[in-house]
Subunit: 464 residues, 4 copies
């Protein structure tokens, strides 16, 4: 069950006769990373055209809007707000008319020193319109007397701290930038055109490439600045390569689509392995393994395979969830969960079931699910979480609840088990998780699980 | 993959302080049976209030509309058109102001002699507004000089032929009627109220009961007319009980939600059994069993269990499908299928895969899916259909393509295999399907598979 | 100030390559007769196409809707409800699929025995959908075994009593019918086409002809049934010619647009004469004559001319009135009137003013206007009404308040003067009004002024 | 007939419990000054809340929006674009989050050196979002290190040249500023509150005061900066008082509502005098004087009074003009004008008519009107314009056509007469116009008539 929200997805394309349509599809494929707003900026003969709106990609862009977004290059963005209120002005890509020409920026991540930068710039007379951190970058670019955007970005990267994967469009190039620690993914691909040419594509996840028929080339590397212009591809660095990286392990645990390759790993395979290792670490005898759909499915398949206990779709998910849903005023037990999830009593009656979920945040939803499973007649309910206990908030672009709301920050596993009313409860260990992603703690950021934040926090830790 | 559309779902509720909100939820849970339009008619102190519109339940009913639908009884309907153009006037429940008072009718099914009845009534001066078959019933009721609605319905049932499960609301009662052959499901439940009272509920599928916290009592029987009024429950018959029934087997194969009980059978279990028997009938060696999501999942689980071949989610379904989707003008291979389904090359590369789908209609979608699976690197693709070859259209409320478009009506299994480009293809046998639903050909209608239509067709067979 | 609402306008056109666009314009020009809803039905090769909606003509018909309304004949209707609630189902033209083919009816007027007819038809099994009187005509036509629509209309006219000007479209002709007493106007015109042909046009008012460049031919006569088909024009009667007519004098007083010719009279000239005669009957010395805009303007010009007292636009009307207008919660004196009307203190300060309005219904608006004029500094306010005291409701298609709300039904002229706080008040006499329209009480219906209703009322008089 | 568009109206209110509702009404009353967009910014406990949108005031502000605009102070703006494309970003009031707090600016007028200022600021790293001149002021304020907004405004006024009446809201005050030459009006009023207090009000025209029940105090003087804060009213100057003023005479001729007092003059009286003087200057014998409604009405009344020739409403204006109007594809003569204006043949037939319009720009509309009048049967048509020939564009906030489109810039009066097909044509003289407004050329800007632009134009004169 979804309880986390990633900040966004970015997309960029260069030299494509249907640039804005491809951007539309690329955002569409990455809709799971942000449903609050969407925007595309296209580049047509040196001029930029923007269309942005609140809502899902399919609603924000009627056909006329894509016709209007003429040109052969474009960037796009879908967003679920972390910093910045939910308003029109915050919809990305942000654009500005600099002295060197128009620039548009799409940002996945979060700058931890945005507040400091903003205050300094405002004192110098800069006018801020949006309330998000990305606007800081625009002002840093605008104030740089150099007209070389690559140099401006390199200099700006000396000032900003935090997580950022940028797709940037100027009047003459498409740029991709990834922060030195590599928090958020950013992948590069190419698309063969009918006319024999090739277009370059940037995206947060490879599933965007699959939809538009593009081929995956490689990741933009941590600390790399990549761009393409009429002379072809270029690459430089904004920082020296470092051994310490901070790839977000939660992309593997929950955020990314299972059919994406993120940090060069199949997300589906990572999750299956998390289920397998979870079974090894905390196996228990039962009649069936059932996922909390859809996010718990891959780990359940892994768990079932490893344990030999049959996999069953014991809970059916209703995908016809409309935009607004009207609650009955009279109480129906566990109603909020029931709208989406319906445990099957025909399957569960009298059975001992292992329920697999990807993560556990507040515990309230898990409690409701377990109650519904028991109402459906299950004899025993064993809850297994395919990630470690979540003990801290994220400051790098994930919309997590405050620490006070994270049940594992304050309660022991057995206390949580009692709260959610499970017969048993077990989490995947941090080591198990790292094993599943074939990684180490010096490559991945697992701060939400282990509290080791890989950057200074500039006082943000006090806010939550 | 969805290729069939059922005509609709009905819902009815009596003696509930939140009647229209429950109807809303009951339709919401049955949204899969019809996404074209939705409507609710409530009964407040002898007067009926209606709200209807084109679109999904969540969009048709803003909160104000439910506030306006006052009263303690209601019926509702969601619809996917079979007969009748897509227009406002065809949205059900249909209502009329009869001499005996207001009446509202929600209909799941299709009357095969509607054209004959309509012509006769028009000659007599009846004015038809909608273009659907259900309006015939209203005119038959209106023209009956009796003011006893039960008697009127019994007499009308002598004239109408075909499939019908009706939920009917008058000024003083809620009525449920099911045709003598029992084509379409109709179930009865009850809901305990906070005030200690009980409300009665009618629905097409039991999943509607689960959402509103109602308990399943029983099916309305074929040929039964059931009603509830201020004196309680009543039951009578519109026809003698017969041995020959015609329960739609396709409800089990595809239409109904897997978490519903239909014709007293768990749909999920029926489908798992179809997969198991399919494996027994047409097993083949392979590296994995993958479903065409979501409809192929239960049969795949059954097939995998029976065969011992691992189940994998080799194709990921994107559920963020907006209402309108803009196509790129440039061709992207198999684009239409790709929007929803993305085969995972990391999983499929070099593998021999068995792909399970619930049914196969035209073959064009299956061809695209198989091509995508091969592009993802699969070595062998064995297609298995968890139902028999579809050889004929349905005249009883299922929106099937014309016979000319049903590939199995014209081609052999091997010809179809070649067309869809599979390495092997096998269907479930009719006997296997009947075994899976523990039934016989004299209980179920399987006309779309075996051509044995259980009623006269009044010339309809020439139309398609 | 508008306080009365006419029921509607009708329009019809035959043999025009842009029939639905002309209908659109014809309704647009007659928008003042009904702003609640609008509809057009076109005829294309024997089939009818309808588009209807709530709201103003310009909003109900987007360009696509007119493209869809193909064909060379059309009828249209704008409506301000008298009988029948404000609902979708009541939007005219009403349509039905009769045994003889499709028929569409647009009606201006009101049938006083609709309730009796309806009850009789319902007893015979007719299903009524709308709540308006016009649906009775449809059922009478449907039940007539004759397939000759002219004969059906002649026979139906024997049953219906009241005010009716119909524009009717069948599969092969356009028909205009006016009731024997001729309550409501209905005019016939012709339009020269670019291709040399001629189209025939029906409308409630001649202003519709002006906009589409059509020429006025004549009125459809009281009791006449006129039609045009592929063989040309035809005329017959539904009733013998009678000396007693009942042309609605209020069309001249208020309803019709001043630039229309109604009952062969220029409305502007009639109103100017009303002002002249009012000045003769109730002249008083003053500094200026000012109209309540816009409806009082022609009478004011007449009054000023006759009296020699200067005409001034002492009150300015704001025409930017949006659809919804939000009231301040704090009280602003006479706010409701002020939104539309602003008296000019620069003009009125210290002056004795004669204020002319077309009619006076409840008196509350007049009171507010007079207060505003005094606040603006006027020394004396003499109110003059260019019609007689309104003492009774209308049952023939005008949406009047109940008798209890008509101030002149219960109070003397001097009591009214005190209530509206005028220094003097005078009405035009009934004789003066008849003189202004060059008519007599046996030609015009002036029931709202003199209580002489020209038909039986079938109990309606008790309702109001 | 409207052919000119003023740039906008401003409104401001301080210390009113219903500040945003009053702003809504104040904009509503000034809707004639700009129909493209509208916006309100309210001040609630030091924080600003904004709501803006494209369209009419009544549509931009649903009731919820006004509920959201909490606080006791507000400014508002309606706009018809002069500089700046029609886009969301250009909707005023413009807002910014300065270091000293939030500021919102509503601007009526046009800065003639905006392009120069913008270029200089962009070179310094300022980011511009809107394309209008008003954003320059925001940047000038933001870059001023002083936190005293009054001082910042005084310093900014040294840099900006052109026409400006500003209503400005900060976190602690409401400010009104009028440029030293006083091009555009800005008036100050007060409103007595139910609680005994007083609110201060700023508006472009006094008609806004009338609607909300406020009293006119005085004009903000040319070169004055007025503000109100918790300590009460204050006034200072941005420039020394000068003898040369440049009040826009076109406000009197056409822009302002006739019921407004502008530059201390009744607009209605000014226009009547223009008509009187026009009659003295260019009288001719005729049967009637008719206005082109509505803008020509006051001058016609003056002309008729002076000449003794009867005033008639010979052309009726249809006020039901929807937002979008669909044209017939077939040609109807003079269709575009006919939609709004319908000459009455009953009045005009065989008559010699004097037609009065407020101004004449391209001549094409006048030609159509005259043709319609002749079609209606007039024997002679004498056209009289109640202002001088328009020979040049405006650079101070009026949306005029380019000089090439101003017929009087290129043709003699007699050539124009021939073009518009009038029997005679005469304009008011510049001296006559000045006499009507009791002014001189050193007080008023009449550049559009006499070519004497009262400021440098910074190259703008080349653009048009």
């Amino acid at each position: 069950m979804r309880a986390w929200h990633d900040k966004c997805a970015v997309f960029g394309i260069w030299n494509d006769p249907e640039a804005s349509r491809m951007a539309y599809l690329g955002l569409y494929a990455q809709q799971h990373r942000g449903q609050e707003s969407a925007g595309i900026v296209s580049l047509n003969q040196g001029k930029q055209i923007a269309h942005k709106g609140m809502g899902l990609v399919g609603d924000v862009f009627p056909a006329e809007s894509l016709d209007r977004l003429e040109g052969t290059a474009a960037i796009g963005h879908t967003r679920y707000s972390t910093t910045g209120a939910s308003s029109q002005l915050n919809i990305q890509p942000l654009t500005a008319d600099l002295f060197s020409g128009p620039v548009a920026v799409a940002h996945n991540g979060n700058l931890v020193n945005a507040h400091e930068i903003r205050q300094k710039l405002q004192e110098q007379g800069a006018i801020f319109h949006a309330t998000n951190d990305t606007e800081c970058l625009l002002h840093l670019l605008a104030r740089n007397p150099s007209r070389d955007i690559i140099r401006c970005l390199q200099e700006a990267s000396q000032e900003i701290v935090g997580a950022y994967s940028f797709a940037i469009l100027t009047h003459d190039r498409l740029v991709g930038v990834r922060d030195p620690l590599g928090f958020r993914p950013l992948v590069l691909g190419r698309r063969k055109l009918e006319n024999g040419g090739t277009s370059f594509v940037l995206a947060s996840e490879t599933c965007a490439f699959d939809l538009i028929g593009a081929q995956y080339i490689r990741e933009i590397e941590p600390g790399e600045i990549w761009w393409v212009d009429e002379n072809g591809e270029h690459s430089a660095r904004i920082a020296l390569k470092s051994d310490r990286l901070a790839k977000c392990v939660f992309e593997q645990v929950y955020f990314a689509r299972p059919d994406s390759k993120v940090f060069s790993l199949s997300v589906y395979e990572s999750r299956k392995k998390m289920g397998e290792i979870l079974s090894q670490e905390s196996g228990i005898d039962a009649d069936m393994v059932i996922p909390v759909p859809d996010s718990g499915v891959p780990a359940s398949i892994g768990y079932a395979k490893q344990s030999g206990i049959p996999f069953e779709l014991g809970i059916i998910r209703n995908h016809y969830i409309g935009r607004t849903f009207i609650q009955p005023s009279q109480s129906i037990r566990s109603f909020g969960v029931k709208i989406k999830l319906n445990p099957q009593s025909e399957i569960l009656k009298g059975k001992r079931v292992i329920v697999i979920d990807d993560s556990l945040v507040r515990g309230t939803t898990s409690q409701k699910i377990i109650r519904l499973i028991r109402q459906a007649g299950a004899k025993e309910v064993h809850f297994r979480i395919a990630s470690p206990p979540t003990t801290g908030p994220c400051f790098y672009g994930v919309d997590t609840p405050a620490k006070s709301q994270l049940i594992a920050a304050h309660q022991s596993v057995d206390e949580i088990r009692k709260f959610i009313e499970a017969d048993s409860l077990a989490y995947l260990s941090i080591e198990g998780m790292m094993r599943a992603v074939s990684g180490t703690s010096s490559e991945f950021c697992a701060a939400c699980f282990d509290g080791k934040y890989p950057t200074p926090l500039f006082g943000l830790e006090k806010e939550l």
